[in-house]
């Protein structure tokens, strides 16, 4: 991976409050172009809230942010053209076939017919899903659905792709394949912003941030983080951060 050092996401003092509850508490970080950026945290730490602000689904309460070179507050539509998103909740149409889903999302992104056709074929053969082509989504296994959802989220070749816990609920083999797809995308220059709570997956990331109670408590490469927290694995780093006293359950 060639990192140019150019920032593709810049976040400064971003806050999101729901009533009196602060879901995201004044976070600041940068993501470099071409990076695989791991966004870690326990359930309820504020990962999804942060991601939904960055992709323009929720308005931030305050702060500053630039995504793909555009201002989050004033140029949301420009951002949407340049990003892909795969939600935590599965979001392909269950009552449409594999190819129909690809055509629909490609069409929504305004891909022209011939390009869309080309991409669809490319995508299906890359995933090895030729036999599923005309199968309804509801009839295919979850692992396949997840891989397809990732590919569909990148059908328009976005600069950044946001993945919100993309591997939750899939078997280890499929998770491995899934990460191959992520590396594949990164190699082609796509920046990958991925949330997860599988700590082994965080080892695959170039850099990792760890969120605790709405704040970013640590941000570095996995190697540096382990050194910093004097830990054997990312698991240990995470436990030390999430439960600082080490006693509380």
């Amino acid at each position: 991976m060639k990192l140019t050092g150019e920032n593709i996401i810049e976040v400064e003092n971003l806050v999101k409050r729901f009533g009196s509850f602060t879901a995201v508490d004044n976070i600041s970080f940068q993501v470099k172009k071409g990076e695989v950026f791991g966004f870690l945290g326990a359930n309820g730490a504020g990962k999804t809230t942060a991601i939904k602000m960055l992709i323009g689904l929720w308005s931030p309460t305050s702060g500053k942010a630039n995504v793909a070179g555009f201002n989050l507050f004033t140029e949301a539509e420009q951002i949407r053209k340049n990003i892909g998103y795969m939600a935590q909740r599965f979001s392909l149409y269950e009552d449409l076939t594999v190819i129909e889903n690809i055509q629909f999302y490609g069409g929504i992104y305004g891909l022209r017919k011939n390009i869309l056709k080309e991409r669809a074929e490319e995508l299906i053969s890359e995933l090895g899903m030729e036999s599923f082509r005309k199968e309804l989504i509801k009839n295919i296994p979850l692992g396949w659905k997840q891989k397809l959802a990732l590919s569909v989220a990148m059908i328009h070749k976005p600069k950044i792709v946001f993945l919100d816990e993309p591997t939750s609920g899939v078997d280890p083999i499929t998770r491995r394949q899934f990460w191959d797809l992520i590396y594949n995308a990164a190699e082609k220059g796509t920046t990958v912003f991925v949330t997860t709570h599988y700590m082994d997956e965080s080892e695959y990331c170039d850099r990792v941030s760890i969120m605790v109670d709405g704040r970013i408590e640590a941000l570095d490469t996995p190697t540096q983080l382990k050194k910093q927290f004097n830990a054997e694995s990312m698991d240990e780093v995470f436990l030390k951060l999430a439960r600082p006293t080490g006693i509380q359950i």
């Binding site: 992709i55 689904l57 949407r80 149409y93 069409g107």
Partner: protein, 373 residues
């Protein structure tokens, strides 16, 4: 433009993939039209009448005979006992009592006027009024007959009758179905359109796909238009089926211009679907959407002039009907189908519904937010 087509295509795929949907769209309105057009009528026939004939004369029998000969009354009971008659009404066996008092014929001949008592169960006021009218018609005709036969045989020149010739325009045989069917067609395509559109966007919220759409650069107006067009087409197909049934089953010939009906129907459906989608953007579950849709639907239909004339409503209610899209379409359907009204005649309605459509679609587009607070 292409994104609109992409959405339309996807909606149609989903509609036709759902096996239960097509019969719902085509068969349900058809069945409802056939049932309701025969059921929703104010014509009352074969009413049970209890007769108390205390006179037992030629005149009283002649009067009873007249009632018997009409299709409207069924002379179910005869007695001399008022109590018995009252009981029958209480139990709902009879709808009305006619009491012919003693001396009926005598008075009629000698005094040239007499009395007759008619008791009508008026729990259903509208029905009672209809019964009253039927009965008065029969009695009046009996009167004239008596006049001519017995009383004024020699002095018919003395009779001064204000004769009012009348004719019923546009529906010369006063066929209730002719009147109801065009309105019912409106109701049926309204119901399907309203419910399907109200459920549509909220369904995508429920299954989570709306987020995936909201992160794309799709224009809000394109999204709303793409959602509207499939239901618009379905609505026009339903209209076509309705008009064909009207023609073949009920022999209703469209006097006015068919394209004019379709023009109005298109604008009407855009308004209605805009409203349905507006509901859909405002709620979080399909259940809420259905409740809201039902709420407006019941008000719209009952205040549309379909079953009860708008002129009969109180002033404030008539004011509300100015905002009722169904009222406009029911009126226009009857005007164009039965009266042959032209574009110029329906221009006020067309203008009103166009403004409504503009407002609804703008609201739906504004209310649909890609980014939540």
């Amino acid at each position: 433009m292409r994104t609109i087509i992409v959405i339309i295509r996807k909606e149609f795929l989903q509609i036709f993939r759902n096996r239960a949907m097509l019969p719902q769209i085509i068969m349900m309105p058809l069945i409802q039209l056939l049932i309701l057009s025969n059921a929703a009528t104010f014509e009352i026939r074969h009413l049970n009448m209890h007769v108390i004939d205390q006179d037992q004369s030629q005149a009283s029998r002649q009067l009873i005979g007249k009632f018997k000969a009409s299709n409207y009354f069924e002379l179910s009971d005869f007695s001399f006992d008022e109590k018995h008659a009252d009981e029958d009404i209480m139990q709902g066996k009879d709808r009305c009592i006619m009491m012919i008092p003693k001396g009926f014929e005598h008075d009629l001949m000698k005094e040239q006027h007499t009395k007759l008592l008619l008791n009508i169960n008026a729990i259903d006021g509208a029905a009672a009024a209809v019964i009253n009218t039927y009965a008065l018609n029969i009695i009046q005709s009996f009167n004239q007959q008596i006049d001519a036969q017995w009383i004024n045989q020699q002095q018919f020149d003395q009779q001064k009758i204000l004769n009012t010739p009348y004719s019923f325009w546009y529906n010369p045989y006063m066929n209730y179905k002719t009147f109801m069917v065009p309105g019912l067609i409106v109701m049926l395509l309204t119901m399907v359109g309203m419910f399907m559109s109200a459920q549509n966007i909220v369904r995508e919220k429920e299954i989570g796909t709306i987020e995936q759409i909201n992160v794309t650069p799709i224009k809000k107006a394109h999204f709303i238009i793409g959602k509207q067009v499939p239901f618009l087409i379905i609505g026009l197909v339903q209209l076509t089926i309705g008009l064909l049934v009207a023609r073949w089953v009920f022999s209703i010939h469209i006097l006015g211009s068919v394209p004019l009906i379709y023009l109005f129907a298109t604008v009407y459906l855009i308004t209605l679907l805009g409203f349905g989608l507006l509901i859909s953007t405002m709620v979080d579950t399909q259940q809420q959407a259905m409740f809201l849709a039902w709420f407006f639907m019941v008000i719209f239909i009952l205040m549309s002039g379909l079953f009860t004339p708008i002129e009969a409503m109180p002033q404030w209610a008539q004011g509300i009907t100015k905002f009722n899209p169904i009222a406009y379409f029911v009126a226009v359907m009857r005007m164009v189908v039965l009266k042959g009204s032209s574009l110029k005649d329906i221009l006020p309605q067309l203008t009103a519904i166009s403004i409504g459509g503009l407002v609804m679609c703008s609201l739906a587009t504004l209310r649909y937010r890609k980014r939540a607070g």
